[in-house]
C-alpha cells in the first residue's frame, strides 16, 4: 500500500509556498525600498481609491497604503519569527528537561504552565507590556514568554512518551550520557511534532502581534504595523473602506499562506 507517487508536491504546499513567499519577499523589500515614502503626507491625495498609481489607495494623510502595508508586513513577520525562535528554544530546553527527568522541577514548571495556559494569551501579553513598556523588543519578549508554555507542553509530552521507548532504554543501557540521550537520541524524533506546533505558533504570533497593535499596545509609530493601520482605518470605514481592507486582507494572506504551507508539509509525510 504505497503512497501516491506525487506525494512530494501537493496543491496545499504549492499555494502555501507562493503566498508565504510573496509575503516574505514584499516584507523584506519593504525594509529597503517602498514605492512611495511611508511617512510623506499629502493633503491633496487623501482617501484616493485604489488605482494603478496607488494600488491599495491612500489613507487619511494621503500616504500610499501599499507602501505602508509592505513595511507593516515586514515588521509583523520579523516579530513573529523572533517570537517563535525565542519561545521554541526555551520550550525545547524546559520541555526536554522536565519531561525526561520529571521530579520537583517538572512539578513547578507544570503548575506555572497551567496558570499561564488558563490565562488568555493576548491579555497576558498586554499585562507584560504594561510592566515592560511598549516597543518592538518588548512585544517580542512579551509574546515570546506567553508562547513558551505551549511548546513546553508539547515537547514535554513527547519526551515523556519517548523516555521509555525501547531504543532509549537501550541507549541508557549502553551508558550514553544524559545530555546526549536528550538532544542526540530523543530530540530528532520529536521534530515532526514540534514542527507542527512551530507552524501554529508562528500564525498565533502574527495574530497576537496584530491584535496588540490594533489595541495600541504593540509596535509604536513611526514603525508601521498592520494592526495599527486597521484601527486607524476603522474611523474611516464609511468614506474609505479600502483603507481597512488592505491591512486586514494582508494579515489573512500571511496566516492563510502559512497554514496552507504547513498543511502541505503535513500531507507530504
Amino acid at each position: 500500500m504505497k503512497k501516491k507517487s506525487n506525494g512530494k508536491w501537493n496543491q496545499y504546499l504549492i499555494a502555501g509556498l507562493i503566498m508565504t513567499g510573496l509575503a516574505v519577499l514584499l516584507g523584506i523589500i519593504g525594509f529597503f525600498w517602498t514605492p512611495y515614502s511611508t511617512t510623506a503626507m499629502s493633503a491633496t491625495e487623501k482617501f484616493m481609491a485604489p488605482s494603478w498609481k496607488h494600488w491599495f489607495g491612500t489613507d487619511n494623510f494621503g500616504r500610499d497604503i501599499f507602501s505602508r502595508v509592505m513595511k507593516g508586513m515586514g515588521t509583523t513577520i520579523v516579530i513573529a519569527a523572533f517570537v517563535v525562535l525565542f519561545s521554541g528554544i526555551i520550550g525545547i530546553l524546559l520541555g526536554a528537561v522536565t519531561g525526561y527527568f520529571g521530579g520537583i522541577l517538572d512539578e513547578i514548571v507544570m503548575r506555572i504552565t497551567d496558570a499561564v495556559n488558563g490565562f488568555p494569551s493576548i491579555l497576558l501579553a498586554l499585562v507584560m507590556i504594561s510592566l515592560l513598556g511598549k516597543g518592538r523588543q518588548n512585544v517580542i519578549l512579551a509574546l515570546g514568554i506567553v508562547f513558551v508554555p505551549s511548546y513546553v507542553r508539547i515537547v514535554r509530552g513527547e519526551f515523556i512518551r519517548l523516555r521509555d521507548a525501547d531504543y532509549i532504554s537501550r541507549a541508557r543501557l549502553m551508558g550514553v550520557g544524559k545530555l546526549r540521550i536528550l538532544f542526540v537520541h530523543i530530540l530528532p524524533n520529536i521534530f515532526s511534532v514540534f514542527w507542527v506546533s512551530v507552524m501554529i505558533g508562528f500564525n498565533n504570533a502574527i495574530l497576537a502581534e496584530s491584535g496588540m497593535s490594533y489595541l495600541g499596545i504593540g509596535v509604536q509609530p513611526p514603525d508601521a504595523s498592520l494592526g495599527k493601520m486597521l484601527s486607524d482605518a476603522q474611523s474611516y470605514l464609511q468614506t474609505a473602506p479600502w483603507y481597512a481592507l488592505a491591512p486586514g486582507l494582508t494579515i489573512v494572506w500571511i496566516v492563510l499562506g502559512f497554514s496552507l504551507f504547513s498543511e502541505g508539509i503535513r500531507r507530504r509525510t
Binding site: R111, I112, D114, A115, N117, G118, F119, P120, S121, I122, L123, L126, V127, I129, S130, L131, N203, L207, S210, G211, Y214, L215, G216, I217, G227, L230, S231, A233, Q234, L237, Q238, P241, A244, G248, I251, V252, V255, L256, S259, L260, E263
Partner: protein, 324 residues
Amino acid sequence: MRYLGKKLFTLIITLFLVSVAAFLAFQIVPGDVVGSIVGEDASPEREQQVAEELGFMENGKKLSPAVRYTRWMKGVLQGDFGVSYRYSKSMNEQMPVKELIGDKLPVTLWLAVISMVFIILVSIPLGVVWARCNNKYLDAVLGVITQTAMAVPSFFLGIILTFVFGILLKAFVPGGYVSYKENFGGFIGYLVFPALAVAIPKIAMTARFLRNSMLTEMKSDYVRTAYSKGCSKRRVMYGHVLRNAMMPVVTFLGMIIAEIVAGSIVIEQVFGLPGVGRLLISSINTRDFPVVEILILYITFVVIFVYFLVDILYRIIDPRISEK
C-alpha cells in the same frame, strides 16, 4: 470524589499563585502613584491621606508588600476590591474598583457566552456533515473555507461585519449600545455581531477538529466490528463514532474558553462595547494597577473554573476515566 478534591485544591493553588504574581508584578513597577494622583503642589497631609486610602501607608508608616498583599487579599475575599488610582468618585474619594467593574462585567460575560453558543450550535453539525460527506469537491470547498476563516483575525472580522451589516445593510448602528438594564433584548441584539466575530474563526477550528476526530475514529477496530454486525454507515456514525469523537472535542472546547474571553475583550474595542476589555486596556494604558490586578484575577478565575467544569463533564461522558 477524591479526584474532585484534588482538582479543587490545584485550582485554589493556581489562583493563589496568580494573585501573588499579579499583585507583586505591579509593585515593582517604578513610578510615584500617589504623586500622580494628588498633583505636584498638594499638601503633605493630602498626600498621606491618599497613600493611606490606597493602602500604601498606615499611621504615617510605609507598609511592606507582604502586608499589603494580605490586606488586599482579605479585602478581595470579603468583596472589597480596593480603589482605583485614576478614577475619582468625588474630590477627596477614589472610585472603588467594584463600582468601576460592576456593570461592565455582564457585557463581557454575555458576549463570551453567546459566542460559545454559536460555536457549539454551528461547529458540531458542520463537523459531522463534513465527516460524512463523500463528495470530493464539497470536502475541498469546506477545507478552503474553514482554513480561510481560521486565518481571519477576529477584530478584522468585526470590522468587516460592521461595514457589511452596520454601514451597508444598516442591520445595527455601529458604536451603538443598549444597557442590559434598560432593554435586555436590544442588549443581546447588539452582542450578536460581536459574538459572530469572535465565534467564526473558532467555529472553523472546532468543525475541522471534530471532522478529523471522526475520520480518525472511523478507522478504529470497533467500527469494523460495528460493520461486521450489519450496521449501516449512518448507524455506525451516530451510534458508535460520534460519541467517541466528541471526547477530544469537549477538551478542545474547554481549551478555547480562554481564547474566547480574550477574543471578547478585543472585540469590545471594535464594536465600542462598554465591557471589561476596554476598561482593562485603558487601565493598562493609564497604569491603573488596582483595576488591572482585580481584572486579571477575575478573568483567571472564570477561565480556570470553566476548565474545572469541563473536566467534570469529561469524566461524566467518558466511562473510561470516571471509573478509575
